[in-house]
Amino acid sequence: MKALEINGITKVFRDKKAVDGISFQVEKGKIFGILGPNGAGKTTTLRMIAGVFHPDDGEIIILGENSPEKVQNKIGYLPEERGLYKKMKIIDQLIFFAELKGVSNSIAKERALYWLSALDAKEWANKKVQELSKGMQQKVQFLATFLHEPELLILDEPFSGFDPINVEVFKQVLLDLKSQGKTILLSTHIMEQAEQLCDDVCLINNGKVVLSGSITEIKSSRQMDTVLCEFTDGKQLPQLEGVKILNKTQNRIEFRFDPSSFNFREFVKKLAENVDIKKIELSAPSLREIFIDEVTKGGK
């Protein structure tokens, strides 16, 4: 079952097409990532899905309805630029946002207190937003997006601004929500996060979809052209010609090659003669590499 069907949505600002006929579908209960470089149209796309503004053209079918306004209470939206009332108490703020989603005052309060203590933040309840650090505000904002137990979460760059510990905390929250059958649509430009978290992704650039599908599908469609190799001493590495070095340290090298001109078996042989190999791995390119391929291809 589809939680979301996007058919050819377009949004024009002044003369620029921010989103140019984007289509994709999100399965219910999956985590779907919208990937793309800065200015690709991710935020505009998410805003249209969240109902912040209407597309100029195209169709959004969301939770079975043809307009986000009809399912506002079933959507949770985390905008890219976070915003809270500076002078309002955290608890009042959380209750307010939940009430706007049709949750009663008492239930909203109960859930807000539950989540604040679950996140070790109970003592913040009566603090004002302006007294909190950026990271804490971020947590509050995140809570506000799902206190009303939405069926679909729309998260724009959900982890930006979090330290690695909180990134893990909220990844776990998202995975828990997923296991409860919630659908999550998120945008990110950090590919590693998408790779770890998302079932399906859609890569957009210049307002258009350049690639979409499940992560396993996308990766398996690529040639195995990425080598990761660890060894004890890298001083006598064989000459590497016609490869793209992704990462190189004293005892580790990661690179991609062009299969038409590079012989992997030859390379391994040479390598074994020169260094002590601890680990060698041939794999499909990372999502990050695929992303860069697609974006630079599109740019040409």
Binding site: G51, V52, Y77
Partner: protein
Amino acid sequence: MKSKFFTIAKRDYLAIVKSKSFIIATILIPIFWFAIIVVPGVLTAIFFQQTEMKIAIVDKTNKGIGKEIVASDPTAFFIEFSSENQLNKKILDGELEAYLVIDDESLKNNHVIVYTKGGGGIGFLAKIDKVVGKTFRKKLLFEKGLDTALIKQIESDVKVETRKVTQEGIKKDYSEFYSFFGYFAGIILFMLIFLYGGFVMRGVVEEKANRIVEILLSSVKPFDIMLGKVVGLGSVGLTQILIWLVLFAIISLFSGQIISLFITPQPSQSSISTGLAQQNPFPANFKIPPIPLEFFVFFIVYFLFGYFLIASIYAALGSAVDQEQDAQTLIAPINFIFLIPVFLISLMIANPNGTIPTLLSLFPPFTPVLMVARMSSTSVPLWQLLLSVVLMLLFIWLSVHISAKIYRIGILIYGKKPTLKEIFRWLRQA
């Protein structure tokens, strides 16, 4: 399901009403108004014609005018027999502040010259004017053979008292008080409308600048956000006005006692103090005259109307900018239109039943301020009040409708500050 519009209104209401600044302002504003309205009046009344300067009188006539002047105010005047050269020296030495020369010519031409080191203040001149003038007039009339009783009658001012005819019979009318009251009621209404309109604009800009509005837009229809804000903050204004009305009612019950605390009855032995009693707007037994209940009802109704009009326009313009300062240039032309009635209040009070005042007070942007001023100065016919209500409602409907369209577009546009012209172009897109 509870309306989301109500949730927004409730938040905006509580955000202000629970704040310390609201409580402080509710207490301080009446004190401030009292201070600017009553205190200068009382001070002028007390100190007008008051001076601490001692004035020497050089009387070159042999009619005893100098003595009479001294008799009417011995605290300020005294007779001096030195020559003018000696007096000039005394002034330069600082021993004397001022002297006044009276000769036969002065009496004939009604003209005296005062010599000072320079300046002296309005109270000083007013005192000389009053006392010398009065003495001269008396003298002239006396010389023409009028008797003292007649002179006294001529000298006293005519007292005008007003009575109004009502269904219940003849009643005491407090025309002056009501005009005075109408003037301040109009200005207070104007200030309140702009104060609360300003809250709406600030609120809209805050939500936009903090990007809260994106979450709001994903939860509530833009029209409900705007209207919720306008209604919530308007309710704050209503709360404040009701608090003030209760305070006002309590104060007017005890107004006599309260005012007598500030103004002690004047001793009446000198002619100066009788002059003072005429100047004093609050006689010792003053009571705030009764103000009809419907005045308060319409005060509140017109506050709400004026507020809705301004607040919806401010919300629209606030939505178009990224920060509050940018809004100032956009609202300036709007403010100008709404400021005009403040300058027309005196026209309403001077001639509350005239055709032009009536027409002006029916023009919706002017109605709240002008109708309140007119209502306190005269009894405005019911049909005019009802017509003004209908016209205002139409105008508000139009303004809210247009503002909502602008708001919907403006609230998501960041970056360049639009001009009024561009904002009107959005209307065609919407």
